[in-house]
Symmetry: C2
DNA sequence: TTGAAAGCGATACCAG
DNA sequence: CTGGTATCGCTTTCAA
């Protein structure tokens, strides 16, 4: 009892291979009676196409592009490194990954990059950027041209993208709040460092954090947040004033990038044994801060998983093929010093 | 500039396709001069075999077996469900997964299952069981017969298995200890519920937990643990005595299975607002306990990931092919109510 | 509208 | 030892 093939369908339906293929791929030029006959055979045999063989015959190539902000922050660097390493592996799976960097916090740059995508040479694109009206329209245009689009890290729901690859940032913010509430040992104030007002992921984290904080930990007051624009130097310079203004600071939630500035400030002016610090993304810098005790916890998302998931979804979308939902869900990882993966793992 | 194929090698080396294949697959009957010539061509062209095409031609089937304890605990059930669901997907990728249940806590049953594996019909096996001398030897014999073996969930290092698919349980124990130390708000005693002395994973968790607890939280005393044998009913019956003996109980670390018994006891005799409870594995039951507040945190490992990773490693081992280390590392997941994945995700 | 036949990249059998 | 060739499951001309 073998798995049925196109040949079996052809035999059972009493037609040729070519006709079976036409029906299978919804190509024109087949009488509806014939289509019906073939479909009956397919159903009867329980046929499922062998994608590997199909791609071989088709010499199908998947050409995928990642549009990322051009910045030196470690999270984006990790993403780039994982794209590069996946690219090597995928080369042998008829897939090419290409990274295109655009000016950060610049919607127009993203739109330009999107509009430059030619459906003749590109099958899909993963976009990491702010949800502005122009970006939204750029995504819509790309999809209209037949290019598969997934939003990466920060969702673009209004753009009608094919998928979102990233964590539920509202839940991530709530998670940070819960950890903060349980870790902090006395009443006081909490500082939130955000990135950009344009970034949907930052906003969602902030919203989730504030909501849980105010409803469940009334002893902890979240003060007006500072907008660090993912810039370590800017953050470092803003902190002294905050510390001066709030002597009863008991916690810091760094919800965006720019952690090095925070770490530098804390380690130069500290230690602050009672200050609970929670940040995002496991990177060499945040890992070191966790090890040294400067950070108490990290909320993270696996960059390797993000890249693999984005490529799988882009390919599946391009092929109109199904995919495994559970495999594509990106987890909200919590890392303490104790459960950090070994450094080597992400090199 | 296309990717080079066997034909290119044949052309460049001036030999036939058949000879190229012999060299590629290290088959006998080729003069070393010829081998050398072919290898030069391969290196020169930077050839990499197209696995999809190779598998197609070879009509290669991967027949894999999972040996699991026959028990109703939710973690094993989740594993079984994920094996079944993966089996369906993998059917179209020339791979069959089969589950074989054996008596729990019975090394001989595992050995019998291992010895029954015929290399003619089975390519690889994933074993979830205790590390006893007999199991160790059974694994060695299976490998000697040419069957790929991975240890699942609980490592079998002495058996020289091909890979371990699971978390670092020592680190998991330390993680639980850290959470316990940070969540508990006053001095008191901590109860650890273990499973079986035979289970290496349980032992490692216990060791890691105790070590960090005693070195960093001297105010919290870990009392002699109870061995629940993953049996909810047994656990439920043992708890009253423990609670009676230690009125200053401030935390419980349930390091193995049998959580339903713990939950039932706590919900029937509770609530215990100040008792911190940390358990293992996200399942419908533990998820509910987390939601209701009976559990404070869950340490987990993704069963879907375990199954996918085991099958990838088994196939790679059978093919002597390389694999992506970072993708196979199983994370120690920490779940709070806030970052639990949606229920639907693991259905 | 339909079919015959030639690949895709690799393997394997049968000769020589 | 080495080469020719059919084949794997599917796609894609080219004719009919």
């Amino acid at each position: 009892m073998q798995k049925p093939t196109v040949n079996d369908i052809a035999r059972v339906a009493g037609v040729s291979l070519a006709t079976v293929d036409r029906v299978l791929n919804a190509r024109p030029g087949v009488r509806s009676v014939t289509i019906e006959r073939v479909n009956r055979a397919i159903a009867e045999l329980g046929y499922v196409r062998d994608t590997a063989a199909a791609n071989l015959a088709r010499r199908r190539l998947y050409r995928l592009v990642f549009i990322l902000p051009e910045t030196a922050n470690e999270f984006v660097l990790a993403l780039e490194r994982d794209i590069a390493s996946q690219a090597e592996t995928l080369l042998h799976q008829r897939t090419t990954l290409e990274k295109r960097s655009v000016l950060p916090f610049d919607p127009q740059a993203i739109v330009a990059a999107l509009d430059a995508l030619d459906p003749e040479t590109i099958d899909g694109v993963a976009v990491f950027g702010p949800e502005t009206p122009s970006v939204r329209d750029g995504v819509k245009r790309a999809r209209a041209r037949g290019i598969a689009v997934v939003a990466l890290v920060s969702d673009l729901p209004s753009s009608d993208r094919d998928h979102f690859v990233g964590i539920d940032n509202m839940a991530a913010g709530r998670t940070a709040a819960r950890l903060m509430g349980r870790f902090v040992r006395r009443a006081g104030r909490i500082l939130v460092i955000t990135g950009s007002r344009l970034a949907r992921d930052h906003l969602e984290r902030r919203t989730g954090f504030d909501a849980l904080m105010s409803s469940e930990y009334p002893d902890l007051k979240v003060v007006a947040s500072i907008e660090g624009r993912d810039d370590p130097e800017l953050i470092r310079r803003m902190l002294p004033d905050v510390f001066a203004a709030y002597p009863d600071l008991v916690g810091i939630y760094s919800s965006a990038a720019g952690n090095p500035g925070l770490v530098q400030f804390l380690e130069e002016t500290g230690p602050y044994p009672d200050l609970v610090v929670i940040a995002h993304e496991l990177t060499p810098g945040s890992r070191a801060a966790l090890t040294s005790g400067t950070f108490d916890a990290i909320i993270s998302q696996d960059t390797g998983h993000l890249v693999r998931s984005a490529t799988r979804l882009l390919r599946a979308t391009a092929d109109r093929a199904p995919f495994d939902v559970t495999q594509e869900r990106i987890r909200i990882d919590i890392y303490l010093k104790e459960n950090m993966p070994q450094q080597g793992e992400e090199t």
